[in-house]
Symmetry: C2
Subunit: 330 residues, 2 copies
Amino acid sequence: MTEQSRTLAPQDVRTVACVGAGVIGGGWVAHFLARGYRVVAWDPAPGAERALRDLVSAAWPSLARLGLAEGAATANLTVAPTLAEAVAGADFVQESAPERLELKVSLLAEIDAAAPPHVVVASSTSGYPMTRMQVEASTPGRLVVGHPFNPPYLVPLVEVVGGERTERWAVEWASDFYRAAGKSVITMDRELPGFIANRIQEAAWREALHMVANDEATVEQIDLAMTDGPGLRWAFFGPCLTFHLAGGEGGMAHMLDHFGPALKYPWTRLASPELTAELRDAMVAGTDEVVSGRSNTELIAQRDRRMIAVMRALAEVAAEEAAERSEART
Amino acid sequence: MTEQSRTLAPQDVRTVACVGAGVIGGGWVAHFLARGYRVVAWDPAPGAERALRDLVSAAWPSLARLGLAEGAATANLTVAPTLAEAVAGADFVQESAPERLELKVSLLAEIDAAAPPHVVVASSTSGYPMTRMQVEASTPGRLVVGHPFNPPYLVPLVEVVGGERTERWAVEWASDFYRAAGKSVITMDRELPGFIANRIQEAAWREALHMVANDEATVEQIDLAMTDGPGLRWAFFGPCLTFHLAGGEGGMAHMLDHFGPALKYPWTRLASPELTAELRDAMVAGTDEVVSGRSNTELIAQRDRRMIAVMRALAEVAAEEAAERSEART
């Protein structure tokens, strides 16, 4: 049993320990600093502190543009000489070590031994289930996965899930804490290799690799197909809401009932699940929740407004960069 | 042999015929009108003209925000009473009929019989190969696929590919014409079911359906995972450039050499191709072209600037909409 009663309320966290300060760990450091936390980092790699401070400095102007929390400062970063010192005074620990299972297992056991037992510890792992990582920890109940996307100081998504020995309160606490820290949180009920976002991303990536392997498309065509095609919509409407609109007034139900046969087309190497009545109804009911009463007319207006805003914003950035380059040349 | 010598230069096109004026065809009509073309539309469905004019009116404010071409006006739209009249005077024909192969085959044959033989005819098909659609046409050499994304008046991407009996000049002409009409064009060398963008989208979609079918994720979680995760990056950096950055200073080469084993992980139901030396080198060389000499520091700066611009633009739209709703209530 962990000492849940001594755990701070998620919104009262002041000090975050970041164990591992490479691209992902350093990105977490920058995010937590920008949200006003004190951060204690530890990374055994040679030159890690210099690289970390450079990453934070490089990210800071971006974070300032997005809006810093009150009291946020790069001076709130301390680099600890040992793992034990890093986690000893922390209200929350984020582990972002290299992606090797045996390393994660032993590091999480070390963190678990050194951190106060009521403190929640999250791993940034891209895909290992916590069940396999928590095997050597004495208080595995407070160990969760908190999987970010790169760069963690900008991309809002964090996927939270526990292992078999994780206690439910820790999953809920971590979800609430990340939300308090400005993140967009998906709390998963069960462990799933790659979680959710990486599964979708990996399916797209493998199809892309197959196309290059078979000389069907080039890298350039694949990237352009994404950025100038579906990628523009996916910044604000996910795949389900997008296909709901593709179904016209009949929405997702019409889409599945009438374009269902497309699931048999060889449009990807990934076979489709059978479109059972259960799956059809689950997609329709789930999409209804996402649509949340908006009519197609409203959704189309919202989509168009966002797409134009995104395209104009990207065009402005490109124009600014071109002006800066031309200024730098003269 | 088609009469290529009589074909206008792509930039001299004045009149576009749109055959089929539903969501996709109507979207094309709105796009071509906004780019300053005269458009003649034909659609046999009852009420089609009213629906088309409504779609164009609804899209016009968006198109005006993006910037109209000189002379662009909704008054440049004519609805023809017959297919033959619609295409008789056209410099280019865009077919956007419902997605049924036998319908596409007969309609393209009718268009081919009625349109001047030197005029290029493009089909909006989402996935049929032109080889299977051009079988009843007398001059199949000028028939191409010009596959848009919904809504065609906003999403820039058009995938252009010919069938076995399409002549090379028609594919090149259509690509040049779409570019002149403000589109972002991928010219494919070979027919591929689903083309490129739909294959990537379909792989992501089928993985999503599998997750719902197996109770691993909800529709809401899938859409949030996309919009608040990889979807935010894909609006401006495609999957290959994204993974190049994930490789740190070693880029795509490091990513494949060190994270290659991840391709064996069960992170999606789609099996990966074998990471042969050829595939590895093709990915590295192709990514080098996309990177085009930019250092990682430059790429990260460009990524962060774009991501912040996109997030701020989307937040502004949401704030505007909230203000409008609250105004409407008072």
